[in-house]
């Protein structure tokens, strides 16, 4: 995770300390004198949206604070899209029911925690949560990706008789993804609420974001259902491996090129190298089959 200069955003608080050397996780831990300020939390999670909000808030005075609503919408949209990718990935392997149960369970925990703790949630170590969930997603992703790569390389013609995935894994995957991304949304909304006394506007921005993402997910369901199982598992494995690598790496202090956007180059790299593995396996099978035909002839 790259460190952004704090002074670039107009919303920079005058009392903020100098940035630490090791990025987002270290900033949460190393701020002298206790917890990070709400301004700092929102700048660390989504600095770009804070700059947008600073422009948007200029001179706007209404019951709905459009600047904070826009900031919450932008930040939440990114997190909800990531959560939706993971839920769709889980649903693709074992059906929508376990993925939706996992989503609902995580949402319930977030609602109870937010209602019970309120602004005290900002004190929670999000970096630790990110590391644990990243490790779990990486393990799920590598397992699925290995299996799908092997099957694509060796049994492509039997893809249609692929056995269904385990619903318990689909539940756990959706639960983990929604819990982490949802926690980040809660952080964004609470931080904005604490910063500008505009909690209502921030909540409205986040609610609109989740509505947009749910609508997009419903639209994407149809095309996804027409993709062969083994190909879906291959794609799911790539997405989970990419997210898991990113989050676990962030928790360990890795500075990714392009920050959260580096999940894209991770996914492209995983796709390219695993497709290469599929090609190598197919070529090996072809050579072996050709040799067997020569022997029998």
């Amino acid at each position: 995770m790259e460190e952004r200069p704090l002074a670039t955003g107009p919303a920079a608080a005058p009392g903020d300390p100098k940035p630490a050397q090791t990025g987002r996780t270290a900033n949460f831990r190393t701020r002298p004198g206790g917890s990070p300020s709400p301004e700092r939390v929102i700048r660390l999670l989504h600095p770009e949206t804070v700059r947008i909000s600073s422009v948007a808030t200029g001179g706007v005075r209404s019951r709905l604070n459009w600047g904070f609503a826009t900031t919450a919408f932008g930040g939440s949209l990114v997190e909800f899209v990531e959560a939706a990718i993971i839920v769709v990935a889980a649903a693709a392997t074992a059906g929508w029911a376990p993925a939706l149960y996992g989503t609902l369970a995580a949402t319930g925990i977030l609602v109870v925690a937010t209602g019970g703790l309120g602004f005290a949630l900002l004190q929670l170590p999000i970096a630790v949560l990110r590391g644990v969930i990243g490790a779990l997603l990486l393990l799920f992703g590598v397992k699925w990706l290995t299996k799908a790569t092997y099957r694509l390389g060796t049994r492509w013609h039997h893809a249609s008789v692929e056995e269904p995935g385990d619903p318990r894994l689909a539940f756990a995957t959706a639960f983990n993804g929604v819990l982490l991304e949802g926690a980040e949304v809660v952080f964004i909304v609470l931080a904005l609420g604490a910063t500008g006394k505009a909690l209502g506007s921030a909540v409205i921005g986040a609610v609109v974001a989740v509505a947009v993402v749910i609508a997009g997910t419903v639209v994407a369901r149809g095309p996804l259902s027409r993709i062969p199982d083994v190909v879906l598992k291959f794609i799911v494995g790539i997405m989970l491996t990419s997210f898991g690598t990113l989050w676990l790496g962030e928790a360990l202090g890795i500075r990714w090129w392009g920050s959260d956007a580096s999940v894209l180059w991770l996914a492209i790299g995983n796709l390219a190298l695993n497709w290469l593995a599929v090609a190598v396996l197919r070529r090996g099978r072809g050579i072996a089959a050709g040799a067997a035909q020569k022997v029998s002839a």
């Binding site: 990486l138 393990l139 390389g153 690598t245 890795i254 500075r255 995983n270 593995a277």
Partner: protein, 66 residues
């Protein structure tokens, strides 16, 4: 509580049942975590390469076993 314990046990078996991936990834990220600062901007690339190596080795193991 019993359901949670059962689910935890299932996850444990799921991961430890194929211990190669689990321990390979633990070793990879321990290495990356230790080298994160000396490696500088390359640490992300090293993490990616190590994870890909784990997947390739496991695919190769499966192909040999088949």
């Amino acid at each position: 509580m019993k359901a949670i314990a059962s689910f935890g046990l299932y996850l444990w078996r799921f991961f430890v049942g194929d211990s190669f991936q689990l321990w390979a990834l633990v070793v990879c990220f321990a290495v990356v975590g230790l080298l994160a600062h000396p490696l500088g901007a390359l640490d992300g690339l090293v993490a990616f390469v190590l994870v890909t190596a784990v997947i390739w080795i496991d695919v190769w193991r499966r192909a040999r076993a088949a």
